[in-house]
C-alpha cells in the first residue's frame, strides 16, 4: 500500500513539476506548484511524518496564495486574460539547475537519514518540541531572530512607501 502511494505521489510530483516549468501560463504554474508541494506532503504522510505534512500544507498553501496574488498584480495581462511568461537566460538557468542537481545528489548520497529510521516514531510533536528546545536550540533561536529581522524590515519598507 505504501509503495502504491509512494509511486502515485512521486508521479504527481514529477508531472506537476515538469508541467510547471514548461507551461507559459503563470497562473497554471502557480497552481501546479501548489499541487507539487501538496504531493510532497503526501510523501511525508506515507513515511509517518504527519506533523511535517501538516506544516507543509499550512505554510505552502498560504505561500502559494501570496505568490499568485503578486503574480496577478505585477505581471502584464494579455487580451485573452492569460498571464504569459517567456524563456530568458537559458544558459545560466541550466547551469544553476545542474549545480543544484549535483548538490542534492551529493547530499542524498552522504546522508544517513533514511525513511526507515523515521517510520516507527510516535509522539512526534512532543519529540520535535523537546529537540527544538534542547538539541537544536541555537538553530531555532537564530531562525526566530532572522524572522524578527525580516518582520522589522518589512514593516519599515511598508511605512516608507506609505510616505513617499
Amino acid at each position: 500500500m505504501n509503495e502504491v502511494g509512494m509511486y502515485f505521489f512521486g508521479l504527481l510530483i514529477f508531472l506537476s513539476g515538469l508541467t510547471l516549468i514548461f507551461t507559459e501560463n503563470l497562473i497554471y504554474a502557480a497552481f501546479l506548484l501548489a499541487l507539487c508541494l501538496l504531493s510532497i506532503a503526501g510523501f511525508y504522510v506515507i513515511y509517518n511524518a504527519s506533523f511535517l505534512a501538516v506544516i507543509q500544507i499550512l505554510i505552502y498553501a498560504a505561500g502559494i496564495l501570496i505568490l499568485i496574488a503578486f503574480g496577478i498584480m505585477l505581471t502584464k495581462r494579455s487580451p485573452e486574460g492569460k498571464v504569459i511568461v517567456g524563456y530568458h537566460l537559458l544558459f545560466f538557468g541550466s547551469l544553476v539547475t545542474l549545480g543544484m542537481a549535483l548538490l542534492i545528489y551529493a547530499l542524498v548520497g552522504s546522508s544517513t537519514i533514511g525513511p526507515h529510521e523515521i517510520i516507527h516514531t510516535t509522539g512526534q510533536v512532543r519529540e520535535i518540541g523537546i529537540r527544538f528546545l534542547t538539541q537544536y536550540i541555537l538553530a531555532f533561536e537564530l531562525i526566530a531572530f532572522l524572522l524578527l529581522v525580516v518582520l522589522v524590515g518589512a514593516s519599515y519598507l511598508g511605512k516608507k512607501s506609505q510616505h513617499a
Binding site: F31, S50, L58, V125
Partner: protein, 353 residues
C-alpha cells in the same frame, strides 16, 4: 462506524435547514415573515430552491479559463469537507486519528482560498478577481489571530488531538481538574464534570481567546461583517459571480460547511465538545445522567447549532467592514491581543500544574 459517514449526509441536511433558518432569522431580525409560501411556514422553501438550482443550465463563459473555472468549486468543497474527517462525534467515535488534528484543520481552512482563487481567476471577470484577491488578503491575515487563539488552547491542553482535547474537558479526563484550573485553591472538580471542566471555565482567559477565535473564524468563513469577497453591493456576487446552477450550489454548500466547521471547532476547543454542561451535585448526578453515546452527539450538535445561530445573528446585525478597517482589526487589534493571551495562558498553565 467512522464519523466521516455521519458528517457527509449531516452536512447536506444541515445546509438545507440552515439556508431556511438563515432566511427566517434574517426576517425576524428585520420584522418580516421571511419565506411563507412553500409548505407550512415556508419550510419547504429550500427544497424548492434546490430543485430550481439543479434544473438550471451549467454555463461556462467563453472567455473563462475553463479547467480552472470548472475545478474551483470542486476544490473548494472537497477541502472543506476534508476538515470534517478530523472531528470527533462522541467518546467512542473519534474521527481521523491524527496527532496534530487542530493544525491540520487550520491548514484545511486556509487551503480553501485556493478554490476561491481558482474560481475568481478562472471566471475572467474583474468583479470575481477582486473578490478572490480580497479573500486572499482577508484569510491570510486572519489566519494569524486564529492560530494564536488556537495556540492558547493547545498550550492549556498540551495536545493537538481533537478527541484528546475534548476528553480533558469532562468526566473522562485522566488528570485532576481544579476549579478555574488553580491548583493552589485546592477545590477539585474532577468528579463534578460538566460546565466546570470546560476549557473556558478551567482557564477563564480562554474566553478572550474564544472571542478572537470567533471573530477570526467569521472572517475565514467569509461571513458578514467580513463578507468582503462576495459583497453584493460592491462586487455583484464576488468570486462566484459567473457561476450558475449546481456549481453555484457547491459554493453555497461549502460556505455553510465552513461555517459549521468553525462552529464545531470552537465548541470542541472551548466549550467541552461532546461533554454535558450539567455537573454532579451530591446525590443529583446530572453529569452522569446526561452522558452516553447519544447524549454526547446531542450536546456536540446542540452547542454547534447555538454558535451557528450566533453567526447568523451577527450577520444580520452588523454592517460590513471596509478593507482597511478589516486589516486594521486583524493586525493592530487581534494579533497583539492574541500574542498577549498566549503569554498569559502560559502563566495560567504554570498555575495549573
Amino acid at each position: 462506524m467512522h464519523t466521516f459517514l455521519f458528517y457527509l449526509p449531516f452536512l447536506l441536511f444541515f445546509v438545507l435547514v440552515a439556508v431556511y433558518g438563515e432566511r427566517k432569522i434574517a426576517a425576524f431580525i428585520q420584522s418580516r415573515f421571511g419565506p411563507m409560501d412553500v409548505g407550512p411556514k415556508g419550510i419547504f422553501q429550500t427544497l424548492a430552491d434546490l430543485l430550481k438550482m439543479i434544473q438550471k443550465e451549467d454555463i461556462v463563459p467563453n472567455a473563462a479559463d475553463k479547467p480552472i473555472f470548472l475545478l474551483g468549486p470542486i476544490l473548494f468543497f472537497t477541502v472543506i469537507f476534508a476538515g470534517f474527517s478530523m472531528l470527533p462525534l462522541n467518546s467512542n467515535m473519534a474521527g481521523a486519528a491524527i496527532e496534530s488534528g487542530v493544525l491540520l484543520l487550520m491548514a484545511v481552512v486556509s487551503l480553501d482560498v485556493l478554490g476561491i482563487l481558482m474560481a475568481g481567476w478562472g471566471s475572467n471577470n474583474k468583479f470575481s478577481l477582486f473578490g478572490a484577491v480580497r479573500a486572499i488578503a482577508q484569510i491570510v491575515s486572519f489566519e494569524i489571530p486564529l492560530g494564536l487563539s488556537v495556540l492558547c488552547v493547545v498550550m492549556i491542553c498540551q495536545s493537538m488531538d481533537l478527541q484528546e482535547i475534548t476528553r480533558q474537558q469532562g468526566l473522562y479526563t485522566t488528570d485532576p481538574i481544579f476549579l478555574f484550573g488553580l491548583k493552589g485553591m485546592g477545590i477539585e472538580v474532577t468528579q463534578m464534570g460538566g460546565l466546570l471542566s470546560w476549557n473556558v471555565v478551567k482557564s477563564p482567559l480562554l474566553l478572550f481567546s474564544f472571542l478572537i477565535f470567533f471573530i477570526a473564524g467569521l472572517a475565514e468563513a467569509n461571513r458578514a461583517p467580513f463578507d468582503l469577497p462576495e459583497s453584493e453591493s460592491e462586487l455583484v456576487g464576488g468570486y462566484h459571480t459567473e457561476y450558475s446552477g449546481f456549481r453555484w450550489g457547491i459554493f453555497m454548500l461549502a460556505e455553510y460547511g465552513i461555517m459549521l466547521l468553525i462552529s464545531f471547532l470552537a465548541v470542541i476547543l472551548f466549550f467541552g465538545g461532546w461533554n454535558t454542561p450539567f455537573f454532579n451535585m451530591g446525590s443529583f448526578q446530572w453529569a452522569h445522567w446526561t452522558m452516553g453515546s447519544y447524549w454526547e452527539v446531542f450536546w456536540l450538535l446542540f452547542k454547534t447549532y447555538i454558535l451557528v445561530f450566533v453567526q447568523m445573528w451577527i450577520r444580520w446585525t452588523y454592517p460590513r467592514l471596509r478593507v482597511d478597517q478589516l486589516m486594521t482589526l486583524s493586525w493592530k487589534y487581534l494579533t497583539p491581543f492574541g500574542l498577549l493571551l498566549v503569554f498569559l495562558c502560559g502563566i495560567w498553565k504554570l498555575m495549573m500544574l
